[in-house]
Symmetry: C2
Subunit: 113 residues, 2 copies
DNA sequence: TCCATTGTATTTAAATTATAATACAATCCT
DNA sequence: AGGATTGTATTATAATTTAAATACAATGGA
């Protein structure tokens, strides 16, 4: 995973972990703060900050000495929420360029690859 | 225009100005550094930084005492470039959630409002 | 019980971003 | 000619983000 320099790393880590949960790569046990920090090449504090926010969002739960775990039903809540957020932002950005909803639909229909 | 606190303001200003160019709201004359800073409620230095980068991208040209102007053909170059960037990121993000291209197309087809 | 692993917290430092206050040279308009 | 406006540059300051190095208490396994 590579980072976009224009946005805080901890936000990108949040997105990455959520994506892994939605994809089913993370089912119950979330990587430890230290192991994910090592894997991503960042400071454990940065991962801890991402986890702290996701805990407040009721996506994961952390316990000292045990680790971090996906909360019950988190994947089912996360999936439609994230899709809606992505689609909404996509539509909004193209509308900001002056495109209509019909034009946007035709644009996506024509995508190949 | 309101700012997203999670990203540098000067980058959001770049996007805003580019959108205005594509929408045709800015045709030739770009707002002065000071007037846009006043309009957006930010420091002139922040606008100047955005303009400086757009000048390096050959989108605008600035002259002391005269102002800032859209470069010839900038709108025609900007329009397809920005659309492609937005669509590509959109597809990429949904693929990162595990969706296929077909699923994405059906998703967009079903959008209302 | 002992020890490694866990999340959490603290402190210090560096880099980036944004603001603020000027100053300056070039240009334009009257 | 002269004054206002322009982009640009400089310096200083503050806030945010990230890194780094620790330390600590709780947990679990040998």
């Amino acid at each position: 995973m590579e980072f976009d320099k224009s946005r805080p790393i901890y936000l990108q880590i949040k997105r990455e972990v959520k994506e892994r949960i939605v994809r089913g790569e993370i089912k119950e046990e979330v990587p430890t703060v230290r192991s994910l920090a090592m894997e991503l090449g960042v400071n454990p504090n940065t991962v801890a900050k991402a986890y702290r926010e996701m805990e407040r969002e009721d996506i994961i739960g952390s316990w000292v000495g045990r680790g971090t775990w996906v909360k019950d039903g988190a994947r089912e809540r996360l999936c439609p929420d994230m899709i809606k957020e992505i689609v909404d932002e996509f539509i909004h950005r193209l509308v900001s360029l002056g495109l209509s909803l019909d034009e946007i639909k035709k644009l996506v229909e024509g995508v190949n690859d």
